[in-house]
Symmetry: C2
Subunit: 285 residues, 2 copies
């Protein structure tokens, strides 16, 4: 028997009515914010959310304010019917799919910004990106009122920015990070992988391979600057074009590691172009 169609809320009022009904029945709720074009990585976050709450809401909203003027907002993949079917199969209870005008009505004029953790890496490469993310995530969390929200470690800097703003603004929600889903050859699952040509897709696993090799070299005591330079060289040898960054940073605040930081938990993060497609990945060190 096919799954029943997934209920869809298109307004804040409808979303809140459903969550309030669950809470009135004594149930907890988790939210999984996404931009749609869902893949197994997203579905693993939905399944993780189910472990933390009785009910799961997934949002699908391609947020215009987190795309730069020359980025891929217009061509970002959209497939609501396919997304809804995948969410239902993963045990999601509600799809929240607001319109742009529901999220940003006439006169909208508020921005949430996070200094520090949002400034290096993608914050430097994509000006305004994390202000767009911080603002829309604040709104989604406050619209939903979920007890828990799940975000993927694939967007590791985003996860740390969200942890910071939730703590700083006292948003009453618990943030849970979910591990990066990967293809069998190691490539991190991403909606943007759909942009890759066959040749680019074949070259793409060089990114996680470079990060894994770098993490091993660091654990063996190699110098950070050497390891970063080697990783960049290996990406370029594999056919990557512009490398926005390959950097080792503190795992929580994403600050540069000082000379005495050998025992600080660290993360290696990278962003690089393969053809016109910008791929990101990261790993613990």
């Amino acid at each position: 028997m096919p799954d029943a169609p997934l209920p869809v809320a298109r307004s804040v009022a409808d979303l809140r009515a459903q969550v309030a009904a669950w809470k009135a029945a004594g149930e907890t709720a988790a939210m999984v914010p996404t931009m749609g074009a869902l893949h197994d990585g997203h579905l693993s976050l939905v399944r993780l959310a189910r472990q933390h709450a009785d009910r799961v809401v997934a949002s699908v909203f391609v947020n215009p304010t987190q795309f730069g003027p020359n980025e891929d907002f217009d061509r970002y993949p959209r497939n609501e019917a396919g997304d809804a079917a995948l969410l239902a199969s993963a045990g999601c209870d509600l799809l929240y799919a607001p319109t742009v005008s529901e999220m940003y009505p006439q006169g909208f004029s508020t921005t949430v910004t996070v200094t520090g953790v949002s400034e290096p890496l993608d914050g430097a490469a994509r000006p305004g990106h994390f202000a767009g993310v911080a603002t829309v995530v604040s709104k989604l969390l406050l619209q939903c009122g979920a007890d828990v929200a799940v975000f993927g470690e694939k967007d590791y800097q985003q996860l740390q920015v969200i942890r910071r703003l939730v703590r700083d603004l006292d948003i009453p929600v618990r943030i849970v990070g979910g591990p990066t889903g990967r293809a069998e050859d190691g490539l991190a699952l991403s909606s943007r992988n759909a942009y890759l040509t066959d040749a680019e897709r074949a070259a793409a696993p060089a990114l996680p391979q470079a990060l894994r090799a770098a993490a091993e070299r660091l654990r063996a005591g190699a110098r950070v600057a050497d390891v970063e330079a080697e990783a960049i060289a290996s990406l370029q040898a594999a056919g990557f074009g512009k490398v926005d960054y390959v950097e080792v940073r503190g795992a929580e605040d994403l600050a540069r590691l000082g000379p005495d930081s050998a025992t600080t938990p660290a993360r290696i993060l990278a962003a690089a172009f393969l053809g016109k497609t910008r791929l990101i990945d990261n790993m613990p060190v």
Copy 2:
């Protein structure tokens, strides 16, 4: 019999525990954020809050981030015991008085900014002021989780900034504005009136008198620019020093009024110094 001492919460956890207990008992809660040094204007907001909810929390927090480097943060009046007694007499149920480190712990790095309504008037005269206000009010509202929050019309631009950010960030609270409390001679009640010398206090009612006269002239059809200039002249004649602004603006967005705006609800707002003390006031037109 004297009133029982007012319970005081000093941490977010204690505040939330009390509000959660009320909600579990089916009671609603209202919040009245203040910077302390309470006067009858504040107490009228507490009484108004009681009309909107079963329980009332007043917060007292002198927020450092909304004071400029040359403003009066250090000498701003503080009198918690006196404030607590006044709040209890007005029917407040809980005083929330967090420390600066409870509000802004190590690593704090998030700011809420509002464009448009926060930019003219006090936004121009006090750079950074409304970002400080928007951030701390977002935090207080999310810490408390009240159903309703009451702010005075005395700080009229602040009230409009707060209405805007609550709507934009989808903070689940209803904002209620309370009318400005006034002394018998018309001076708006303000904690900063305590700074005035006797002579300054005697001159201060010229501010509401100038605004009332201006509103009457506008209703009689006088030109906005003429009325603003006359009000400034009358303040200077009464002994005021620097006049930061006397301006007629749209009542909601505080935009300049266009030539066809005779039917737009408007507000006249002023800020001017009497000696070292900066007074503000406003009235509907």
